[in-house]
Symmetry: C2
Subunit: 201 residues, 2 copies
DNA sequence: TTGTCATCTGTCATGGACTGACATAATCTA
DNA sequence: TAGATTATGTCAGTCCATGACAGATGACAA
């Protein structure tokens, strides 16, 4: 990796960190692009060469996490039922975060706090999840061998499950991967309890 | 109702209609507030006295529909199980639209086309649904006698069901209330099939 | 009818998000 | 080191959104 590429990556991370800190400190709405750019000693115009919008920088960690999830999903064995594969991929993604750089972990949890505290960003996260849902649907349809209403329902149920699991996190749990894991497991268990056997086949 | 109030209502509807027509004609992004205001012969500043944002005018019909739904939900007998009450309220809301002014129907379907065609607005609709979900959750918790994870799951499942039902609509079905109804019933039937008996109790 | 009050509206000025165009500066490559 | 690529800064401009103020309009009582 050349110097140019390394520098770009460094600037990108610096922008994310500066933005998240400012968002947490003085709120998302009252933080300007100029402030973020100034904190990294970069022109405001350059900010927009790294991120398409103010929202995008706040959601960057969430976007990265989704990529990890999709990669985990891709690695699941084809024998697993659709929902099992999705749940396992989610566990895998959480594990990647747990065993990764502490720096990345802190950044992710900071981003989650910003998301929780800012309705606009929260809606943006929904948009992200919906975009992701299209790709998840493909995987579900592949495993079920049918791209029908039922595949859509399985996919939507997974999205809901994750959402309920995450929303349920209190502030303390939000700053702790293990708390997040527990919430997630509780919700998966509930799905198991309320669905008829083989519902996702 | 006085003249002043009637005038305000008329301006509001005119703004919505002008906005929807422009959005459909030339796209949401490339339509400016100035254009909408000019079409109704009103100053741009006045637009923002009726709607808090450009997005809000596009979602006005959806917001009104949600209010109808909540009102229907409020009228459901307390003996119904949570999900049954929600499904019946949805049927009621669709019926209100079907039996209402043709003008209102056309506006609603136009708005739905705009929502489908515009990612930003689509995300906004999600935000609306989530805000609504809080009130739906209260009703579910009341009927189940418990504000717990399971109530949240029932609520989220309902939201997913509606979402899947609506997303599944093709363009022809989108311009037809009956097609919309059929999709919805198919999805409700699927929930009935995949959930264990009494899952929402 | 008229005068007063509340409310609605237009105008103006401003700030902040975002974009295109162009010149400069930094890296890369031969 | 020269020349090609790519990143960055500067500048100008559009659009969304909001506050402040003044003028217009409907509401209402005497």
């Amino acid at each position: 990796m050349g110097l140019r590429e390394r520098k770009k990556l460094k600037t990108r991370v610096a922008l994310i960190d500066a933005a998240l800190d400012l968002f947490l400190e003085q709120g998302y709405e009252s933080t300007t692009i100029d402030q973020i750019a100034a904190a990294v000693d970069v022109s405001p115009r350059t900010f927009f060469r790294y991120f398409g919008s103010k929202e995008e920088v706040a959601l960057a960690p969430a976007t990265d996490a989704q990529d990890v999830f999709l990669s985990e999903l891709h690695d699941r064995p084809g024998t697993e039922s659709p929902f099992t594969a999705l749940a396992q991929a989610m566990r895998g993604a959480v594990a990647v975060l747990r065993d990764g750089e502490p720096e990345d972990k802190r950044r992710f949890l900071k981003a989650r706090q910003v998301v929780e505290a800012t309705p606009t960003i929260f809606a943006g996260q929904m948009r992200l999840m919906l975009a992701n849902e299209q790709r998840i649907l493909e995987e579900v349809a592949r495993r079920r061998g049918a791209d029908d209403l039922r595949s859509q329902f399985v996919t939507a149920t997974f999205t809901s499950t994750i959402r309920v699991g995450l929303e349920n996190c209190t502030l303390e749990e939000l700053s702790d991967i293990d708390g997040l894991t527990r919430r997630l497991e509780d919700t998966f268990a509930l799905v198991d309890e309320l669905m008829v056997a083989g519902w996702d086949r």
